[in-house]
Symmetry: none
């Protein structure tokens, strides 16, 4: 793999830009979860990435682009995992809904505390910055879209009832985002391990046809 180029004495150092960019984004992720975006200096980021400070600006035009790169990565990774999980869940609306909720609150997203904090910080940055907001909103829209599909499908097939799909989806989405905020700022308020189950209960209660007694 790197033998291939080293045999040719003329071929200069191979490009490793992508790798470095990932390292730097990782650095920001780590620092941002404890210091926020503004609080994360370029030196901090470089140190966390075990790189020299100048290199950050060699691979990114400016600090903000690192943030955008981070968003990209978080979203890409998240959607990949999400779609995989939902594909495994089968066709039943409730199962798919559970998979969606679990993917957000049980399995993956909450696992890495860096990611959790970073996402909350990103939300605030989205309030402030047009570019970040656009991408952030796009991410939320992607989630919303998947939820709407599941709910609309379930309602069409009679598996689900309740409010219009977009309203129900917004509620579920909000609860997920809200759990992130609370988890990142006041974790003890969420009884350990209860988030996914609680949201499943809320979603079911809103969408499940009433069982007779």
């Amino acid at each position: 793999m790197f033998i291939s180029w080293s045999t040719n004495l003329l071929m200069p150092r191979p490009k490793n830009t992508d790798e470095r960019r990932e390292q730097i984004i990782d650095g920001l992720l780590k620092v941002m979860s404890s210091k926020g975006y503004e609080g994360a200096t370029v030196h901090d980021i470089a140190r966390a990435a075990k790189l020299s400070p100048g290199l950050v600006h060699y691979h990114f035009g400016n600090k903000r682009e690192v943030l955008e790169g981070l968003m990209e990565r978080l979203l890409d990774g998240h959607f990949a995992a999400l779609d995989a999980a939902m594909a495994q869940a089968g066709n039943a609306a409730l199962a798919r809904l559970d998979a969606f909720i679990d993917q957000h609150l049980a399995t993956g997203a909450t696992a890495n505390p860096h990611t959790l904090s970073a996402w909350v910080v990103l939300g605030a940055e989205a309030v402030t910055s047009k570019v970040v907001r656009a991408r952030y909103a796009e991410g939320l829209a992607g989630l919303q879209e998947r939820l709407v599909a599941v709910i609309a499908d379930g309602q069409r097939r009679g598996e689900l009832k309740g409010p219009p799909p977009d309203e129900a989806a917004a509620g579920i989405l909000a609860a997920i985002e809200g759990f992130y905020v609370v988890a990142a700022t006041a974790r003890p308020l969420i009884p350990r391990g209860s988030a996914a189950a609680t949201l499943r209960a809320m979603a079911r209660g809103m969408l499940e046809p009433k069982r007779r007694s």
Copy 2:
């Protein structure tokens, strides 16, 4: 303008500290909703408050104290309004729950977009800053406490069923906070005016005893 009292050198300058502090806090509120906390310079704050920059540090030890003052004011105002609304709601658990939800998502909090954005920004600041986090968590805890009281009461009296009160409360709280985040960053995802109704449906679905058919 200030000649009026100064002509009498014996008459002490009337104190207006509280008023000024409020002005300054207001200034931060306005600026923060569009620039975030770090992005709000003391000059910005002063300008928004129609005061001179030096005054900010005359009335506050430093910029962070203004933020803390803002939190205090948001929380105080919010709890006052909330408790008043719930007092009006009577004793029935569902009615109190509805009042709680409406107070957060229908009536007040979402009305002022400055407040909405500021609250989301504050959440991110809470991730970063110990002091802010403490007060922010305290605020969330106050809400959680009221929700738990309502739910536990309702369950004891048989008006409600469902998961343990603290878990249910956490879910409702999360949904509220999440609606704030979504409203501040991707408003179109929430069908206009649907937030409160949707959360009421989710809460009822989780907590209301099943009606037989």
Copy 3:
């Protein structure tokens, strides 16, 4: 003068922006003549002005604005002195021409070596920067205009002959600017004190009606 305000205890520190701006511009003038514009750091400028570095950006938006302020001052001062000198010279075209030349090469401009060097540096900066070039060209145009007026007038009245006024003016202007460059870079090439006399000879030779023998 500053008693007036100090009697009123309410009147805060009087504005001194203009004075400070002049100080800073002076600082740049001094430093620029030995280090050029890029080479003059903001610290250098502040030190030369005996001010703190931060103050430079309190009174100017950025370093370039100081340069523009400097241009403004050099040009304003120069035109004021020039117009005064020419007014004193009377109406005869040759006398006015001599006054023009002397003002540039004998009396004033060459006196302060800071100004001389700075003007040459500014010329190069004009090559590079649109804003500087615009103002620099405007300054040259002002000189050219005055020269053209003198020459055209003299030719109309028969006191002068020679090429079209704008061409003759351009030649004289060029010679002046060129003397500045040579003086700032290779002074020994100009026999001491000869510049004005030489240019007068050149101008006369070009414009004076031939004397018969």
Copy 4:
């Protein structure tokens, strides 16, 4: 591309240093005319030369040496062309003078706008940098020397009159340099194509014996 020789590991890489140096100097020439010397980054230079940045420091010790190389080339080229032109002009003082002026203002130097701007920038750099100033002054001295020779010769032979040769030469030299400055910063002030003729008129006026009527 470079495989051709590398296949034979024994064949040494053919040297192309001189060519590369010229390329790099050319790069600086191009960039400097629009960005100045400090403003021309090594990357800019390399890009303009269609080379990689690292190569610049392989062929030059540092950026300043490229500037010195550029001066050398400009001067060498200029003197070669100048001496050729003057050799063609014959022996008459006025003819040689005209050739000198034309070579600077009509034929060559003003043709390439890169060269023109670069020369003005170099003049400013000469104000600042000892090394550049030395070489720049040397260049001017070379011109002055040739002018003095022509004028002194002409005066000795009665073809010319006027001020001492060194003073007259300084005036002509200044006018040339000044035309460069004006051309590079405020070209419209020079009626198209008039520079050489105007300076010839000035020089003649100063040096030509008066013709009787």
